[in-house]
Symmetry: C2
Subunit: 370 residues, 2 copies
């Protein structure tokens, strides 16, 4: 078991990483209060892990646990789902001393975390991520939200968990499509923040796709270290933390434009990173070869490198409805080098349009067949 | 113009108090960002003050303002209203650099403040309270929430405003019932925290009911000072701040049991304080004469001192659904003396029942006719 700490003063918390972590009563015990524990999960994850998590909570001394089932998939990140979770907590008469355990992927974490943020003005919660995407990214950092017809994550809160319990053993049974979607965020961490991780990914992508336990544990730990550093430096995304949105402005447009749930979040981020790398090259910031490296690893990870063939206008309209507008100017995360992302709000729309057009009209390269 | 500061480190903010405050561009200017400004109000307050607030915001340099109308009354503190406000903000394409101005009483402040807490994971807001209740209590301290069928304020957030602009001139036109409801929270501040204020109220209640500007300004300022101290010491109500809930456990039961909106919040708190003072006496903490002083000032303020004649069981059931349960034990705010409230979770249910029965069966005393 390895532990990475997120240093946030009174809101600091540990991320425990390793196989069998969800069975360890010791990891839950320090965070239990005297109240009830609600385990929020979905009909896919629940049958697999609910019994184990409950058993560990009981051994840790939890007084009373109960389950709340949300829908499977992105549609569970809705206002209606949030209302149902809150109704269930109130129906169980959970008090302010209650706690939520978010058991599942990124959707469950965002939904359950937001419920914890607003239930009786805020209660504690634990993240127990069971997908690669949630373990390497969404369970860390306290961003919680639900979607709105007008855009992703439009309603939410910054609310840090009391701990993250990332059982890498759960990744062995992850469906291949979900595994790949999680790899997109690992690729993001490498190309935006850590050239060494980017190079490691290029060399080890096959081991990851084969669900090699050691390789998966490595990228979970390294991703958590990177994310913990960024979050500790800029909890509320006043600046630096926005670098983690590399690929997300375009990615959110893809998810919204296609209809939530059609593209997995990680798939949309992968295609979005390809556009963002194109933009970096057109803006004169990045060498074309580095953009090709990103595209290559996206394709070799089995992720879509070609975004939907919509006109650039459609992308710009979808992006304008997204949150990354400051003072009326679009803000982009672009690369200056592999492992070095920067935030720019002075890019020319003509370059943005050209970057979109080039990406949507591209055909898969040789890398895709490797 | 007087200014009271709420000292909360990076989240510190001023409370500006005085006649004509809402017209002063200087008070808004330091808090404006580059984004749009949404003024959330209702059809009663809007026609009276919206033009003046907008004019001041324009003079302060606001780029673009727009209005969002919620319903009048407690029913606006609903999940559905919150959704409508958020839809309106998204419809206006307000970004993360936008700001909300909460123009109205406690309901508008709680609703608009909660919308600010969760819109795009949190944006800034100003409280511009136009009722006595909002000026002396609810606009200060960052508690925001909406109600649920199972209880008041069940969903919400701690989210501090950037400033409170309390124009005491707006109190001159306040309907008498609203004025009295606000006085209940002033009485609470006196009897829970400040014996001098309690004695001042006993001597000056007639001036307040006559809407004497000097007397009103005095209680607004003193209440804000008391509340600012308590909030600075315990922002998230981990302990001491709970003393401000004096009368509220019983009061919330009255509001919920009667159906929201039948009793004004302040009216229910007034009757709730009478029960809580009874309980303090029965628990051997308070002298009977001090409980009589509280009841006397409640009656002379024209507030209900006799709670609904429901059986004690009904009260206990409504209270169990409320939030003030810790580790399964009911927690009560009781008085040890006038101006000295304490938090107790070891009181006997038999005393609670007797305190309720005595209050509900009482008839108005001579003080009511003074």
């Amino acid at each position: 078991m390895e532990t990475v700490r997120v240093a946030l003063g009174a809101r600091s918390y540990p991320i425990h990483i390793g196989p069998g972590a969800i069975d360890s009563a010791e990891l839950y015990r320090p965070h239990l209060s005297r109240g009830k524990v609600a385990i929020v999960t979905n009909p896919v994850v629940g049958p697999r892990y609910l019994g184990r998590v409950k058993a560990a909570l009981m051994r840790a001394g939890a007084v009373e646990t109960f389950d709340v089932l949300a829908e499977d998939g992105e549609q569970a990140k809705s206002w209606a789902s949030l209302e149902k979770v809150i109704d269930a907590l109130l129906g169980a008469r959970m008090g302010r001393d209650g706690m939520i355990v978010a058991l599942g992927g990124g959707v469950i974490g965002d939904l359950a975390g937001f419920a914890a943020a607003v239930y009786q003005r805020g209660i504690g919660y634990l993240q127990v991520p069971t997908t690669l995407l949630a373990q390497v990214d969404s369970s860390v950092g306290g961003k919680t939200a639900v979607n709105h017809a007008r855009g992703k994550n439009m309603v939410g809160a910054f609310h840090q968990p009391r701990a993250v319990i990332a059982d890498t053993g759960t990744l062995a049974s992850l469906p291949p499509r979900e595994l790949r979607a999680g790899l997109a965020e690992v690729i993001k961490h490498g190309f935006a923040l850590d050239a060494e991780l980017a190079a490691w990914l290029e060399a080890n992508i096959a081991r990851l796709l084969a669900q090699d336990a050691g390789a998966l544990a490595h990228v979970v730990r390294r991703s958590c270290e990177l994310k913990a550093q960024v979050v500790a430096a800029d909890e509320l995304e006043a600046g630096h933390r926005a670098l983690l949105n590399f690929g997300h402005t375009f990615g959110h447009a893809i998810e919204a434009g296609a209809g939530y749930g059609k593209w997995l979040h990680g798939e949309a981020v992968a295609a979005g990173m390809v556009i963002a790398a194109n933009l970096s090259v057109r803006a004169g910031l990045l060498q074309a070869g580095d953009a090709a490296r990103l595209r290559g690893v996206v394709e070799r990870a089995g992720l879509p490198a070609v975004p939907p063939a919509w006109p650039a206008d459609r992308y710009l309209e979808l992006m304008a409805a997204d949150k990354k507008v400051a003072g009326g100017r679009m803000r982009y995360v672009v690369l200056e080098a592999v492992g070095r992302a920067v935030l720019r709000n002075d890019l020319r729309e003509v370059d943005v349009r050209a970057a979109i057009d080039a990406a949507t009209k591209a055909s898969p390269t040789a890398a895709a067949s490797l």
